[in-house]
Amino acid sequence: MSILEAKDLKKYYGKDETLVKALDGVSLNVEKGEFVSIIGTSGSGKSTLLHMLGGLDNPTSGKVIVDDKDISDLKGDELCIFRRRKIGFVFQSYNLVPSISVYENIVLPIKLDGKKVDKEFIDNVIDTLGLKEKVNVLPSKLSGGQQQRVAIARALAAKPAIILADEPTGNLDSKTSQDVLGLLKTTGRKFNQTIMIITHNDEIAQMADRIIHIEDGRIIENK
């Protein structure tokens, strides 16, 4: 079952001589429960692709279909609410809200949607990510790896359609990276989550079920 589909996605910046084709006709399909990685060098358009797929930005043309809904035409607050419900983000720089506790960070997307927190599920997620002892501290008191684990927990908590991880280990040493990737892989399976990792590191990409290689705004390999 397809959970995420991109159809001939294009994103151009500038015009005429200064025209930059950040994405130039990307089509891909992700099945529910898959663990996919997108690999590409810096400037290959992989981050732009992530922005499009995650509803952070609108494409110049083409379609993004998440859970059967075409999101290409959504604007402003609609996109925000879409993200809140459908996308879990894990960023290189963790992007936790510094002023609230780990627990509050994890349940924030749920609370923003005014939903009741599924305590059992959240406890399970927190336990799985080894954050049980840290739930009441502020993110700034945590190590990088721990912060990224909180970010993963936050992404899992809202039970999104897909988790998009943008260079999730970019700020971490190799040992911590291994931990974080392992957790992404095992929790994805455990909670039946679809995960897409965007990276320039092929060793990280290896962890995935499928690797999509992108260069110059186009997919050059999909296996």
């Binding site: 609410i81 459908k86 931990d179 392992g182 095992t186 060793e203 290896q206």
Partner: protein, 284 residues
Amino acid sequence: MLANRTIVRLEEMLDDAIEGTFVEDKYDESRMSRLESRWKDFLSNSVLSNKNLETERQRLEQFISDISHQTKTPMTNIKMYSTLLSEEVSRGEDASLEKIRNYSSEIEKQTSRLEFLIESLTKLSRLENGTLSLSAKKEDTNKLIRTSISAIESKAALKNIKIILDDDNGLTSLFDMKWTNEALVNILDNSVKYTPEGGEIKVFTESFEMYNAIHVVDSGPGISEEEAARIFGRFYRGNEVKQEEGIGIGLYLAREIISKEEGYIKVVPNNKRKGGEIVVYLRK
């Protein structure tokens, strides 16, 4: 008026769901919009569980075909050797004792292989169906490694393979001793298989914040990047070692066991290092 509109929309949603065409109408802060999202969620998940049932059925089919396929060779062999044996025995005095010994040992070998195969497949089936549950608890990782190594020691000795164990620390991990041992033995067994005569296998542990890793490094040809993704497929056997005996089910079983324990297995492809390396990550 408002309630009426809500009912109309709910009916629409139900109709669409029956037809399988339901898509959320809009995203906003209204409760209707949230209901739509959750409705979609529910539908996706129920479609998925239907799909899971389907996969289960396919898996069973696959299992039966696997059994028939995998048992075919040993069965044929047993049949063949049995025929040869009876032929030889029927020659009476002219019968070559050596041949008879040879055939019977071959029959024995094929039988044990068959036995192993059936046993593995049964285990796998139970594991996959969840009829058999693992009880992961805190256990001594080094004890696991030693138990596993002792299981393949004699086999390694036959090929004159040195096993180097680096186990100075008393790491504890979350796993089921019996089954994890099975998984690790399969991995070690695989390494012994692919390591040439006189080679060596290094086993060492590494500790992470969330996981403990058991590295199994051999001096064999290693696994290419291409292969790495497939090696854990059911009944896969490496290209380079077709001639070697063994069946691909071991690694697949190992991966199933480790994932059931919330751990994972990583293959380090041979473009990164010389020889083969498989890493087992167990939850702390």
